[in-house]
Amino acid sequence: MKVKVLSIPVLDQAKALTFYTEILGFVKKVDVPLSEDSRWLTVVSKEEQDGPEILLEPSPKHFEPAKTYQKSLFEAGIPYTQFNVENAQEEYHRLSNLGVAFSIKPTEMGTVKIAVFDDTCGNNIQLVEML
């Protein structure tokens, strides 16, 4: 078995695609229409385009328990997903300048530095820099 696709639940796929590509810098990989209002839509890291794909999955829109779960995680400040970065402080400045809201500013936690931001699609995302 290989890890190829991981899901991030999003309320609005078009808005999520804009955020994940234009703000975070990911690259769109697969975009297949499935119905009138949903697509099989994946993005990959620009530096690792043959790496795992993130499926921007519209489950909160179609499946009430997914919406409830996402909302509860968000309200508790819990990040559903994390991305590794070379420098958390620099990424924090870059994203803050683009208007991204952080619930946790870069903070050292032993051998890592973490920061948590709102992806505007219903999720907290954690950045991790290994120290």
Binding site: A76, I78, I104, M109, N124
Partner: protein
């Protein structure tokens, strides 16, 4: 304060209170990052860090979740993938990232990535060619 923020604070206080230990293992990791292409072993790392090798082994595993040698192997393999993607030969890549024999490099590479270095390189070339052709 959210639940997660309070958990972060709790974990920080309970698991990461010993800053001396943490600085030691971070320094060891930085040394591996800078010298991964040199002959490294636990003796060398413990001498550099002025720490007994068994203590270093225990601390590194506790804070990074893997042994220094596992970390070193992952680092070398990550670097080797970049060189192979850029078209470097397998033996040149092997020595450049610090492995001592192409056959053991090849075996380890297959175990960790699922493909031999030659197959990995071939796949990279065919992918980049198909993008160019397109």
């Amino acid at each position: 304060m959210t639940f997660y923020q309070s958990e972060i604070q709790r974990i920080k206080n309970s698991c990461y209170a010993n800053t001396t230990q943490i600085q030691k293992v971070i320094a060891t990791r930085n040394y591996i990052e800078e010298h991964f292409d040199k002959p490294l072993n636990l003796d060398r790392l413990s001498n550099v860090g002025f720490i007994s090798k068994y203590h270093l082994l225990r601390l590194f595993k506790r804070y990074y979740g893997q042994t220094p040698m596992q970390y070193l192997i992952d680092k070398r393999l990550e670097k080797s993938k970049k060189h192979l993607k850029n078209g470097m030969s397998i033996s040149e890549t092997c020595y450049l990232v610090g492995f001592e024999s192409p056959s053991s490099f090849s075996t380890l590479f297959k175990k960790k990535t699922g493909s031999k270095p030659s197959a990995f390189q071939k796949k990279q070339f065919s992918q980049s060619r198909s993008i160019t052709d397109f």
